[in-house]
């Protein structure tokens, strides 16, 4: 029995599990589908006004760097799990890795490859500023060489000889004692509710869009014309607590209030309204923040049924529950607070690993009140792939999964 553990997924909970185990002396293989670790949270923004609002996004960069440099953690990016055999204490995990045309161990992110790349947009893509590992990546769909044409410019320019187009996909067999599944979530696709107009009108955004906008630009402007928004609405429970998603996503009320408060802080003249069903305000330190919000944000208990664009403005038709009637109000920007949904590819990983999906489509646990064990001994769950959680809860869950995995190792001794 070896002392290695495989963690599938390098988001908030995956990197936490990896660090807990590595710091306890075990070897960890962190298998990440994308070219960089960090998951969803790495793309989120700090939501502080003049004080911290506890969004916990700042916990991620430090952890990512710790993982990247930890001697006991092998990060396998561009990798997926293709097969599994064996049992607890003695698993063989088959990992498929996309060809690393730019070798991570050699790339210093100097950017010279992108400098000579002839395509537009560039096939040699610069990493996002938050990417860990911070390395350039060749986009197969744009690269001339990979599409069969003659081009060797980047390979010739790279000062560290990091580029090699002859690299093939790799198949690796990892021998591990336990596995932690930390594959994360997808946000609800707001296009599924056509009446809310997402994708049709430019000034309708989701919570995820706001994360990206604040992270990249630092403030919110109307997508349609770049001006300041004067009247903003947030709509809660989009894709949660409804038919098909009979659960509360736990994060949306909080992120909506944090964004609303941040927007008011940056633009005190903007009117912000939050449409809600049941406001989720529990949690350490949130009560005071909620009190502050009440002073500056309009809260309307209501469920918008339709959003239409009329003369450049967004008309929201909603049922005002407190007043008991259907009303209309216009806004210039609407944010749909989309919820956490299971990844659509969970079923395929479930099949490979032999674990079950639960009623809502998240990975299932063996029994209630045991949120880390699956039906397969030695395979554990961490983070939002098991159910909606915010960042601190995902991190805590990652620790719990690590503890569970250690139990396997202890048992096998």
């Amino acid at each position: 029995m070896n002392k290695s553990i495989a963690v599938i997924g390098g988001g908030a909970s995956g990197i936490t599990s990896a660090l807990e185990l590595a710091n306890s002396g075990f070897r960890v293989y962190l298998i990440e589908r994308e070219a960089a670790i960090g998951g969803q949270a790495a793309s989120f923004c700090c939501k502080a006004t003049d004080i911290c609002t506890k969004c916990s996004v700042c916990l991620i960069p430090e952890k990512l760097n710790e993982v990247a440099v930890h001697p006991k953690i092998s990060v396998l990016t561009d990798s997926t799990v293709a097969g599994l055999s064996g049992k607890a204490g003695d698993f063989e995990v088959e990992v498929l890795r996309k060809p690393q045309y730019i070798a991570l161990e050699r790339c210093v992110a100097c950017g010279m490859c992108a400098g000579v790349c002839p395509t537009e947009p560039k096939a040699s893509r610069s990493p996002s500023p938050d990417a860990v590992p911070y390395c350039y990546v060749i986009d197969e769909t744009r690269c001339l060489r990979l599409r069969g044409e003659k081009c060797n410019l980047c390979q010739g320019t790279c000062p560290t000889n990091a580029i090699d187009f002859d690299r093939e996909p790799e198949r690796k067999e990892l021998s591990v004692s336990a596995i932690i599944v930390a594959t994360g979530f997808e946000v609800f696709n707001a296009r599924e509710i056509g009446s809310l107009g997402y994708g049709r009108y430019p000034n309708i955004l989701t919570g995820l869009d706001l994360e990206r906008i604040f992270k990249d630009q630092g403030s919110l402007k109307l997508p349609s014309n770049g001006k300041e928004a004067r009247r903003i609405a947030f709509i809660q429970c989009v894709g949660s607590r409804n038919e098909g998603h009979g659960y509360c996503s736990q994060v949306c009320c909080k992120y909506a209030m944090r964004f609303a408060r941040l927007i008011k802080y940056q633009n005190p003249d903007t009117q912000v309204t939050i449409f809600y069903i049941d406001l989720q305000t529990a949690g350490k330190g949130f009560a005071e923040f909620y009190d502050e919000c009440r002073g500056v944000i309009r809260f309307i208990r209501g469920v918008p049924v339709e959003i239409l664009e009329t003369s450049g403005e967004l008309e929201v038709r909603f049922e005002n529950i407190s007043e008991g009637k259907v009303e209309r109000e216009t806004f210039d920007l609407v944010t749909l607070s989309v919820g956490i949904t299971p990844r659509k590819d969970s079923w395929s990983l479930a099949r490979v690993l032999g674990i079950n999906l639960g009623d809502h489509g998240f990975f299932d646990t063996k029994e209630p009140f045991n949120s880390i064990e699956t039906n397969v001994e030695g395979i554990f769950l961490a983070g939002t792939c098991q159910g909606p959680k915010d960042i601190p809860d995902s991190i805590a869950h990652g620790v719990a999964a690590a503890e569970g995995a250690m139990g396997v190792l202890e048992k096998c001794k």
Binding site: C158, E403, E410
Partner: protein
């Protein structure tokens, strides 16, 4: 001193490296200046290695990309070469210079390197050492969270002592019958946990006992425990607080006093244990939530469990008055839907309801926002909301240990870096109700975090420390206590050195390297190696030319 400049594969074209090399060569204490294309790769490592092994240098300056990316790598290399990594000084000439500058980038880079050189001259070696730590953990509180923490630590080979104020273990498990959805009754869970603990050689239990004094630091807490007439001291490596929470129906939130047909959730649970003993079955039961504390999950979660139990065991009509149902816990929405399916009626208010006794029943009057009308309910029994409060003794213990509490009075400062279970003091952790987590799912992950937290600190029986990286000079120390009060990590203690003198002493293991002590010391008696006043000023003064 040896200086290594990296031009990042030759890509930092706006920096004239030969010019910088020429400028710096003039410095007396510079042994060599190497320009490399990739200090972070094998070739760079070879270059550094060969220089360090062949040259007689005692300081290293590296000008390259961000410390964030590469510092660890250089540190590790130097350690392998037996060169003390505290003698390394870094300059960021890429992310903080070449990539963001438009003017004379070379001049800026030169100055940044000079700053690093100025600091390097003053760096002193810091040794690393293994210090022994006590592998035992003190668990304060013998309720569910405390017992579970002890059992999980035992599984990982760590010994614990549970100190419980009452005469028996169990905490709230003794009071509550069950959670809806859990097959085992809580009584069975309690019994099996107690049996497991009794059998477990790794767990010691002290009941009717309390902590009266805490001294020392992580790895070596000296704890005085009192119980009855005994008092004795034990040593522990870490402390886990599992002291639970109290519930109260606060009189000021209700004009009426609880009693008779206004009961608490716990009273209801007690009633449901033996429904056949009731003199008269209540026909209509009303629940009121979100009046004492509209931001707590506890009333929602207890109510959702209890309404289902009521429907099952008593069959009474149930009405729940609430402002916002807190369903942001696993399984909560499902319980809510099931409750509605079983005929429980949920009414939502914006304004708190009026509640008064009338003709032997209780009247609840509220404007239901769903109907848009005022609703008047006469019920036989009103289950009033309970407010969760920090456990007794929290104020005392938190000041005894110098650990923070949150705005509600529960343990643990509201600082995301501490979540889930840590305190600013290394080795002190919190789980469950006492830190405000009142739902079982989150309490369980708290426990795992505290268990793993203590395990990784203590499992090896020793910890690596940087010896006297932050050090109080006993000659200069006036024992004014400023640093002790300022240290956010409780890492400084007063030590008696002889019959006349007491000085502050910093625990290497508990220190988190913030330097606040060095900044507040009025006598400038604290030296923070790597960020001492002289070293920071050396960087500052470089701009003067």
């Amino acid at each position: 001193m040896g200086i290594f400049l990296c031009d990042c594969g030759g890509s930092l074209k706006n920096i004239d490296f030969p010019k910088i090399s020429g400028d710096l060569e003039k410095l007396e204490d510079v042994a060599f200046i190497d320009i490399s294309h990739s200090l972070c790769l094998e070739e760079g490592e070879k270059a550094i290695t060969s220089r360090i092994l062949s040259e007689n240098i005692n300081r290293v300056v590296i000008a390259a990309c961000s410390a964030e990316l590469r510092e660890h790598k250089f540190v590790r290399l130097l350690e392998e070469l037996r060169f003390n990594p505290s003698l390394l000084s870094l300059a960021n000439i890429r992310e903080q210079c070449s990539w963001t500058c438009e003017g004379d980038v070379t001049e800026k880079a030169t100055e940044l390197i000079r700053m690093a050189i100025g600091k390097a001259r003053l760096l002193q070696p810091v040794e690393r050492k293994n210090v022994p730590v006590n592998r035992e953990v003190l668990v304060l509180g013998g309720g569910f969270a405390g017992m579970k923490s002890a059992l999980e630590l035992s599984r990982l080979g760590i010994r614990t002592t549970i100190v419980e104020r009452k005469s028996t273990l169990g905490g709230k498990l003794k009071e509550v019958e069950g959670f809806y959805g859990l097959e085992t009754s809580l009584k069975q869970m309690l019994d099996s946990m107690i049996t497991a603990i009794e059998k477990d050689n790794n767990i010691e239990v002290l009941t009717s006992a309390e902590v009266t004094r805490v001294r020392g630091e992580v790895g070596d807490f000296d704890i005085t425990i009192g119980g009855g007439r005994r008092e004795f001291s034990l040593s522990f490596g870490a402390i886990i607080f599992a002291t639970g929470y109290r519930t109260e129906i606060l009189p000021q939130d209700f004009e009426l006093k609880p009693g008779g047909n206004i009961i608490s959730q716990l009273d209801l649970v007690e009633m449901l244990r033996a429904p056949e003993k009731l003199k008269r079955r209540p026909e209509t039961i009303g629940f009121v939530l979100d009046v004492c504390d509209e931001n707590s999950r506890l009333p929602t979660l207890s109510s959702l469990n209890n309404v289902l139990a009521v429907r099952e065991k008593l069959g009474s009509e149930v009405y729940v008055f609430c402002k916002n149902l807190k369903v942001d816990s696993e399984g909560a929405e499902e319980l809510y839907r099931e409750a509605r399916n079983r005929g429980v009626v949920f009414l939502k208010f914006d304004e708190p309801p009026q509640i008064y006794r009338e003709d032997g029943r209780v009247t609840i009057k509220a404007k239901d926002v769903l109907l848009g009308e005022e609703v008047v309910l006469l019920c036989d029994l009103l289950v009033a909301e309970e407010r969760a409060l920090p456990p007794e003794g929290t104020k005392g213990l938190s000041s005894m240990l110098n650990i923070g509490t949150d705005s509600q009075g529960f343990y643990q400062d509201e600082n995301v870096h501490l979540y889930p279970a840590a305190s600013a003091r290394k080795g002190v952790l919190f789980v469950g109700g006492c830190r405000g987590n009142l739902d079982l799912g989150r309490a369980l992950t708290d426990i795992a975090s505290a268990v793993m937290g203590s395990y990784s600190l203590l499992a090896l029986g020793e910890a690596v420390v940087e010896v006297e990286k932050v050090r109080v000079d006993p000659e200069k120390c006036r024992a004014c206590l400023t640093c002790i009060r300022a240290c956010p990590h409780g890492a400084i203690q007063l030590l008696r050195v002889n019959t006349e003198k007491e000085v502050a002493q910093i625990s290497d293991l508990a220190c988190d390297g913030c330097g606040v002590c060095a900044a507040v010391c009025p006598a400038k008696a604290i030296n923070f190696e790597g960020y001492s006043d002289e070293q920071i000023l050396a960087e500052v003064e470089t701009i003067g030319g």
